[in-house]
Amino acid sequence: MELEYKLDAFNGPLDLLLNLIDTNKINIYDIPIVEITEQYLVYVKNMHEQDMDIMSEFLVMASTLVSIKAKMLLPRIGKPDEEEEDPRAELVERLLEYKKYKYASFELAKGQLDAERLIFKPSTIPDEVKNYVEEVNVEEILADVNLAKLYDIFTSIVRKQNDKIDPIRSKFGKIKREEISLEEKVNYIYSMLLELNEIRFSHLLEEQSSKLEIIVTFLAVLELMKIGKIIVVQENIFDDITIRPIGESANG
């Protein structure tokens, strides 16, 4: 018989197989593999499909069918009473799984038809409400800030300032510029990240004593990003940049 073979009539090889099973009124648990394979191959042969991607999917299934067919035709070795796995078992399982979701999609479509008749209204929030910015309540934002905290923050700033002076080098008469290698910096930042799990970019810079070192630090961060070892996050413009490691120690 002449049939108009249209590939888009089927959602894929499983769909085509199910359709063949349905039209032939075959028990899915006992597929006559010889006949089905034959029919399937006729279908595929008649597909005038340009898209190789789609075609190849149908061909993969064809080869699966042929291989099942071969297994079933092979003489059985072993004791006759031994339970042997049916070569069709895996395919049947896949077909059933696929059929399950195909069935579900019909059920979903029914629900969609009902829901389609409900009309929602777009949000009508006036701009002045949307853009309303509540006045900052300073007391509120200072609620968990006290003098002790302010003190801690300032002392930590003083500490950083002192770090910058670098007491060791300042004890030498002359400061000799040292070679800073990018590789070294990359390793240093990464090992620090693995330990702390998160560093602020500004904190990295604060540690640096020279412009060159700052530049190398910046390059090192870029390098770590490029090789996918870190991610950087900035919540808002002008906010500090947070650096986190990706992978082994990323437990946050």
């Binding site: 896949r94 696929y98 195909k102 999609s105 389609e116 409900l118 009309i119 009508t124 929030i125």
Partner: protein
């Protein structure tokens, strides 16, 4: 009693203005009552919206509430509004969507395994329609993206939550089995002949 009526009015105004689904939390916060009280008030409102002289309804989706017209008003509204036809999903999209709905969170590879075909296009379309979204990454090599359904999915398919998904599991398969067996019984000769 009048106090509750006022709260109902406020909830009505909020749902009307927002249009989108509003969480119980937000509503409770706005009317300054606890969640349980708020829930009860809304349930009571929903009952009254059900009455015959009301054309709008409040529906619950995933613990949020949203106003929408009643289904039976659709034809009248269409006369006035010429509502643009909603996107109906093709079989392929529906099939992919149902796999995601039932198996979520799921990777594209798993979807393709079940469907037996490449599914990039389908997945992208469903994302475009806002029916699914990325919900995370799988803890596996390559950290593949996991997909799940969205709130829009629930709304578009008339569900309150994923619990409302039609059951398909084993009973459905059983049904297939029975049907298949029945069919086989009907044409026993035909199938046996082929083996």
């Amino acid at each position: 009693m009048d106090e509750i009526k006022k709260l109902e009015a406020t909830i009505e105004a909020i749902l009307f203005t927002m249009g989108d689904a509003v969480s119980l939390n937000k509503i409770a916060e706005a009317i300054e009552h606890d969640l349980e009280t708020t829930r009860k008030i809304i349930a009571n409102m929903m009952d009254r919206y059900d009455e015959v002289d009301r054309g709008i309804n409040i529906i619950e989706i995933d613990g949020s509430y949203q106003m929408c017209t009643k289904a039976e008003q659709y034809e009248y509204i269409r006369k006035v509004a010429q509502q643009p036809k909603k996107q109906t999903l093709t079989d392929i999209l529906l099939e992919t969507l149902s796999i995601i709905a039932y198996k979520q969170p799921i990777t594209k590879l798993e979807i393709e395994h079940i469907r037996g075909v490449r599914s990039d296009h389908c997945v992208n379309k469903l994302i475009e329609y806002n029916l699914i979204s990325e919900v995370g990454r799988m803890d596996a090599p390559g950290r593949p993206i996991l997909f799940g359904t969205s709130e829009d999915f629930l709304r578009n398919f008339g569900m309150q939550s994923l619990k409302d998904l039609p059951e398909i599991a084993d009973e459905a398969i059983e049904k297939f089995k029975e049907e298949a067996e029945k069919e086989v019984d009907d044409d026993n000769q035909l199938t046996l002949r082929d083996i």
